[in-house]
Amino acid sequence: MNFLQMIIPLNITKTISDWIYSIMPETAASYTIMVVIAVAYLALFAVAGLYLVLLERKVAAWFQLRIGPNRVGPWGLLQTMADALKLVSKELTSTTKIDKFLYNLAPYFVIVAALMAMAVFPFSKQFQAFDINIGVFFLIAISSIGVIGILLAGWSSNNKFALIGAMRSGLQTISYELSVGLSILTMVLLTGTLQLSEIIEAQRTGGWLILQGHIPSVIAFMIFMIAGTAETNRAPFDLVEAESELGAGFHTEYSGMKFAYFFLAEFINMFIISSIAVVLFFGGWLSPFGITENIAWFPEVIWFLIKVLGLIFLMMWFRWTFPRLRVDQLLTLEWKYLLPLNLMNLMLMAIVIWLNWTI
């Protein structure tokens, strides 16, 4: 057995489940497996979220002629760990006239929605917790729950700035959900399946979908990235927390770990949007031109992560170079430009497939 295979078992979920089944009765084992996988994912994404924060700070520093965090740990690697510790140990402060129940509930809505979407992620062929046949649909459905948390946070904080931020968030998410959904639908037309693993397998022979579908695919990709950035409430669409207008927007009144949930959720959402784009346009875990296809021990998850990080870098690039849109311009962009373009693009894709013009 190869050394690498020993430290990165290819079939993580299967190895764990086999072991648990061997030491427990069947019913107990199946529940234990669920808990174990959930905890493993939770830990994985908490850490991933933290390191995306570090990446964001480093990328921001590169764009802004700075060095970025470099004091805690080598290359600042422990900086966000230290920040997380600080946030965990901080006192939770709140104002007196809040709606206590909703105020405390809101951060969990946001973070749980973000983490649940992770369940269907196809990191590699074996590394996928939950391969359901409506995977894409599940992702869209789950990722729109988060906005409820933002609306609740703004409403229950009893703060006018937070309320304005939350209302903007409602506007924005409802509008851009359409574009995200329709651009995904365009790609689903090409593959004819909603199951994420099958979408990826469809790209093994014919090349990545962005090449297979050529013009309509590229348009769909651009729309998806614009709408996806808007969905995650990041600049240039960060009207929800526009700091020069609303202070901190919907999370003005949150502190400590509750604030950290909102903060982490933003980064995990960014990861989700990039991952969907990688699955739908860039062949998921598949290597470019199949260069590592015949190397059995090569962990395919590396390709997936490289592609996702590339797209995350693109989103960070947006954030650190563009000014912010105004709320009416945001809606104009969606309803007057992106949505009609998207519908036409869907038709174009249908025609391309009908005439068999795909590559």
């Binding site: 802004q64 002629l65 020069s244 207008e245 563009f322 000014p323 105004r326 311009q329």
Partner: protein, 373 residues
């Protein structure tokens, strides 16, 4: 209940919101009481006094040399120009003619101050519109000017380099070289600024046609500086009432007629080029001469009223001194550009969104201690 009745029962109310005194867009402690309908602003009421330090009253207590130091703390981004305004007034009263060397050095540092101030404004304008990167680019270049100032007079922000009758001491031997280096560096950086922010389509959308100030309003509200020039009101004191060495340099007064936020933005960006050109004309031929005219240790202005105006980075600063012939002035009044410019804010930001108000305020370039004094 019919639909019409239901419609009548639902009503919306205007509400008020405090923008400031602790607000990121206020750049200090300016409190704006906004009356808002949804996100549409119905009324803007500036509430001042959070950083009022009675500078004008303190001036009545101090000698003329001491007054100069107080003016640093008004518009701290144009501290050298503020100092100069007081010095020019006192020199006018004493009828001292300062040497050419002093005039030229004062003008060069004035323009460096203007560049530094506009750099800060440019960085912060981007930040107000959500483009955070601009800040660091601007501060990189502003840092070089501050280093020059530090070497020249020991201070980076509150300069205190002017005294009535001239300069506190001569320039540092490195001054000319470092200023030339800076100019050469900065000329390559202004196009970079344009690439980063000016040519951005979102930036155009956010600023064009936002916060339109007509020429008539600008004149009737006493608006001055780049804000007035963005509305086509030629109000540059350097051009119309030259002081120091401005009569011997060739520069354009930048005028735009649109009167919107983008016009005000462009005025300042073009002024950077003009300031660079003024410095280039002067830096190579600083005349020899005294750096300080002889004044008595205790300055007593003759009885009477004295007024001098200068163009700071924000607009027209007027210094009025009423003297009874003592070592202290009887009354001092500063006509600060920020205060007059702020008075127009409510007039031009009715029925706009909060984001537009932030953009408009950014283009006005307020320094709150200048408004409050």
């Amino acid at each position: 209940m019919t639909d019409q009745q239901a419609q009548n029962k639902i009503k919306t109310e205007e509400y008020f919101i405090n923008m400031g005194p602790q607000h990121p867009a206020a750049h200090g402690v300016l409190r704006l009481i906004l009356t808002i309908d949804g996100e549409i602003i119905k009324n803007v009421e500036p509430d001042l006094g959070y950083i009022h330090r009675s500078i004008e009253k303190m001036c009545e207590r101090d000698s003329y040399q001491q007054i100069v130091h107080l003016t640093d703390r008004m518009d701290y981004l144009s501290s050298h120009i503020n100092n100069e305004a007081v010095c020019l007034t006192v020199e006018k009263g004493l009828e001292i003619e300062v040497s050419d060397r002093v005039k030229v050095i004062r003008t060069i540092i004035d323009e460096l101050t203007r560049i530094a101030s506009h750099c800060l404004w440019w960085g912060v304008m981007g930040m107000d519109l959500g483009a955070l990167t601009t800040y660091f680019y601007a501060f990189r270049d502003r840092e070089m000017i501050n280093d020059i100032f530090e070497e020249t007079c020991g201070a980076r922000l509150t300069m205190n380099y002017n005294v009535p009758g001239g300069l506190m001491f001569d320039i540092h031997p490195n001054f000319v070289k470092r200023t030339k280096d800076f100019i050469a560096h900065f000329k390559t950086k202004i196009p970079e600024y344009n690439l980063l922010l000016t040519d951005n389509v979102i930036f155009h959308k956010r600023t064009k046609g936002v916060g339109i100030l007509t020429r008539e309003d600008a004149i009737s509200f006493g608006v001055s500086g780049p804000v007035a020039r963005g509305s086509g009101f030629s109000s540059d004191v350097r051009k119309h009432h030259p002081y120091s060495a401005y009569d011997r340099v060739d520069f354009k007064e930048i005028l735009f007629t649109e009167g919107d936020t983008f016009a005000r933005y462009q005025v300042r960006m073009m002024e950077l080029w003009e300031s660079v050109s003024i410095i280039e004309q002067l830096i190579d031929n600083i005349p020899e001469g005294e750096t300080k005219a002889a004044t008595k240790a205790v300055i007593k202005l003759p009885k009477g009223e004295f007024y001098q105006r200068v163009e700071t980075a924000r607009g027209e600063l007027g210094v009025y001194i009423n003297s009874t012939g003592n070592k202290n002035p009887y009354r001092v009044k500063f006509r600060s550009p920020g205060f007059s410019n702020l008075s127009i804010l409510n007039h031009i930001s009715k029925d706009v969104l909060i984001a537009d108000l932030v953009a408009t305020m950014a283009s006005f370039d307020f320094v709150i201690p200048d408004i409050d004094r």
